[in-house]
């Protein structure tokens, strides 16, 4: 099967669901959520049947689209992330409904299940994009879908604030990206990444400074997308205000595709050491700042989603550290493995947050007080999630960090490893705060141990799968490597 059909099928599923939602009255809205999940899972299965040789190399699209191993691996990654997000979205519907301006039950929920499909298609295009034009349009598709999803809870001031902030800073970063691409195109005469790597190899050195400027601007814009310091200002407010499934989506899938684009763009410029050296030292610098600021700023947080936002900044730092050591060879694997682990443990943490905030109405750390007395199994799942995020041995998070640090050591980035080790130590402190709330702090006044959080069957199944994966990859990480590019 031609790989280009994957996104087409997904977009068509989105169209069908939107149409069905408009014309089928009286159907329960969760049906569309499950329909979208079936569509995503179907496309996921189809990724095992694609054949890159079926692509017509003469066709115009072959310039923009590549179905190499990296692209296919991350297409599956994005599809799985979307699947988890849709499952959480169905679970989150009652909270969402509360903040929608509608009197009829279920109004406005159908679109909430369709938008992730288009965002997912955009991200699948993005990981395949081999041309700046394609990178730009698919990145915009992803970001525009996210603008809508972040501001979805219109009657909630926090969600609106998050939407506006994300829109303005997103538009700014888009402007920077276009300006950077314009510089690169103006000097090299091409927007294609393959063409660029051929052109920079023979470019006269006196013209290189213009390309470097353009590349710097592109790096800034991608820094916004992966939430690297100092381009992280939007992260805490947006993560806190957005509906929780959208926050999970933003922190996992959007970040992962940002890194894939970053890898592809950097790869095109590595042929010339003039860019390679400067790129690596810039990324190493960004990584150091991101790890430090992300972890230090997370310490005083009292809202769990805000804490996860800073933790997501910190994880971007570890990933950037791997990216900075890309010369050592093993970095690509370290990044891919880290992202897979990050997907599993972040989804776990957000899924538990949804359960807790649904029954208690808040997502502050204090809402987790005494959770172990109320729902011991839920507390255990969360404990495994945060310990894995912190990087405790025998959880998946440990190996994720281990491979990243090994690859940085191989590349000789000792100072960066030092900063990383300090950051991990800070990380343990604030992740254990959640653990302390769940196991040591008493329930808030006026609450009894009998008010248990109810978990629905699909979400419970997702939690079990994620917990098992976190523990299994913590002792036996090699199966993931078998799937890797």
């Amino acid at each position: 099967m031609n790989p280009i059909l994957l996104e087409t099928i997904l977009v068509c599923v989105g169209f069908l669901l939107l149409l069905a939602e408009a014309f089928a009255g009286g159907v329960r809205k969760s049906v569309f959520g499950y329909g979208a999940m079936v569509g995503v899972f179907g496309v996921f299965v189809l990724t095992f049947w694609i054949d890159a040789a079926a692509m017509n190399s003469e066709a115009a699209y072959s310039v923009y689209y590549s179905a190499d191993d990296l692209a296919v691996f991350f297409k599956r990654f994005v599809l799985l992330a979307t699947f988890c997000v849709l499952l959480m979205a169905v679970e989150f519907a009652p909270v969402l409904q509360k903040y929608l301006p509608s009197s009829a039950g279920g109004a406005g929920l159908g679109e909430f299940y369709c938008l992730p499909l288009f965002a997912c298609a955009g991200m699948m295009w993005l990981v395949s994009a081999t041309d700046f034009i394609m990178i730009f349009v698919s990145l915009e598709l992803v970001t525009v879908s996210f603008y809508v999803m972040v501001a979805y809870m219109r009657k909630n001031a926090l969600s609106l604030e998050a939407g506006v902030k994300y829109l303005i800073l997103g538009a700014l970063s888009t402007g920077v990206l276009v300006y950077g691409i314009a510089w690169i195109f103006g000097i090299l005469g091409t927007t294609n990444l393959v063409g660029i790597s051929q052109a920079v190899a023979v470019l006269p050195p006196e013209k290189s400074v213009g390309v470097l400027f353009g590349l710097g601007l592109v790096l800034i814009s991608l820094g916004f997308k992966v939430a690297a310091v100092p381009f992280q200002f939007w992260v805490p407010d947006v993560y806190q205000g957005a509906p929780t499934p959208v926050t999970a989506y933003l922190s996992v899938a959007s970040k992962a595709v940002g890194f894939v684009v970053l890898m592809r763009v950097m790869d095109a410029f590595f042929v010339a050491p003039y860019y390679g050296d400067r790129l690596l030292s810039t990324v190493a610098f960004l990584a150091g700042m991101t790890m430090l600021l992300g972890n230090l700023a997370a310490i005083p947080q009292t809202n769990f989603k805000r804490l996860l936002a800073y933790s997501s900044v910190a994880h971007a730092g570890y990933l950037l550290m791997a990216l900075a050591s890309v010369a050592s060879g093993g970095a690509g694997y370290a990044i891919a493995f880290y992202l897979v682990v990050y997907l599993i443990m972040t989804m776990l943490a957000f899924a538990v947050t949804i359960v807790v905030s649904k029954s208690l109405g808040g997502d502050n750390i204090s809402d987790f007080n005494g959770l172990s007395k109320r729902n011991p199994w839920l507390a255990l799942a969360m404990a495994i999630g945060v310990l894995s995020l912190a990087g405790l041995p025998f959880t998946a998070g440990f190996f994720g960090k281990f491979f990243v640090f090994v690859s940085a050591l191989d590349a000789g980035l000792y100072w960066l490893v030092g900063i990383g080790a300090f950051s991990v130590a800070c990380g343990f402190y604030y992740y254990l705060k959640v653990l302390r709330a769940m196991y040591w702090l008493p329930l808030s006044i006026g609450e009894s141990e009998n008010t248990r959080c109810s978990i629905s069957l699909p979400l419970g199944a997702l939690l079990v799968v994620l917990v098992v994966l976190t523990l299994a990859l913590g002792v036996f990480p090699s199966p993931v490597f078998a799937l890797m590019p």
Partner: protein, 167 residues
């Protein structure tokens, strides 16, 4: 002659662009943006890109900005006028701006090609519009399809976020 026209258009484009940010009345800001767009269209014309120049006037200066003005008037934004200036924000913004301008000057100054005239591009067959159409639908067909999906998402988003009562 052409150089003089370039400098005039470029100067006014940047001038009115700066006014968009500096003026406090939203209506004046929007009108400055219209003027900035008009001078940008002039720049496109001097590059022989007539179609893009006209589209710039018709779509951006015309349709989009009129829509903007309508929105501003509907929202009746007056509070914006009384906003106090913050010293810290001015200094921070100024530092970023100065750094950016310095970098651009530095880069342009070190590029020898920046002063040379670019070679004249080979002309094609047929009119501007037809050629843009061909390129857009043949070479750039795939990005165009993605833009189509983007517009759909934007439309759905506008309906969701702006409707008074969802049904």
């Amino acid at each position: 002659m052409q150089l003089a026209i370039f400098w005039i258009f470029a100067f006014f484009m940047v001038f009115f662009g700066a006014l968009v940010v500096l003026l406090r009345n939203p209506v004046s800001s929007a009108m400055s943006l219209v003027l900035s767009f008009l001078f940008l269209a002039g720049l496109f014309m001097t590059l022989d890109a007539f179609f893009i120049g006209i589209i710039q006037v018709l779509v951006y200066a015309g349709a989009v900005m009129v829509l903007f003005l309508f929105i501003i008037m509907l929202l009746d934004l007056k509070s914006e006028k009384q906003r106090k200036l913050k010293v810290g924000a001015w200094l921070g913004g100024g530092a970023v701006l100065a750094g950016f301008v310095y970098t651009i000057l530095h880069v342009v100054g070190r590029m020898p090609g920046a002063e040379q005239a670019m070679p004249v591009l080979p002309g094609g067959v047929g009119s501007d519009v037809a050629r843009i159409g061909w390129v857009l639908f043949e070479r750039y067909n795939m990005p165009l399809q993605v833009v189509g999906v983007l517009l759909l998402v934007a439309t759905v988003g506008v309906v969701i976020l702006s409707r008074k009562e969802l049904k």
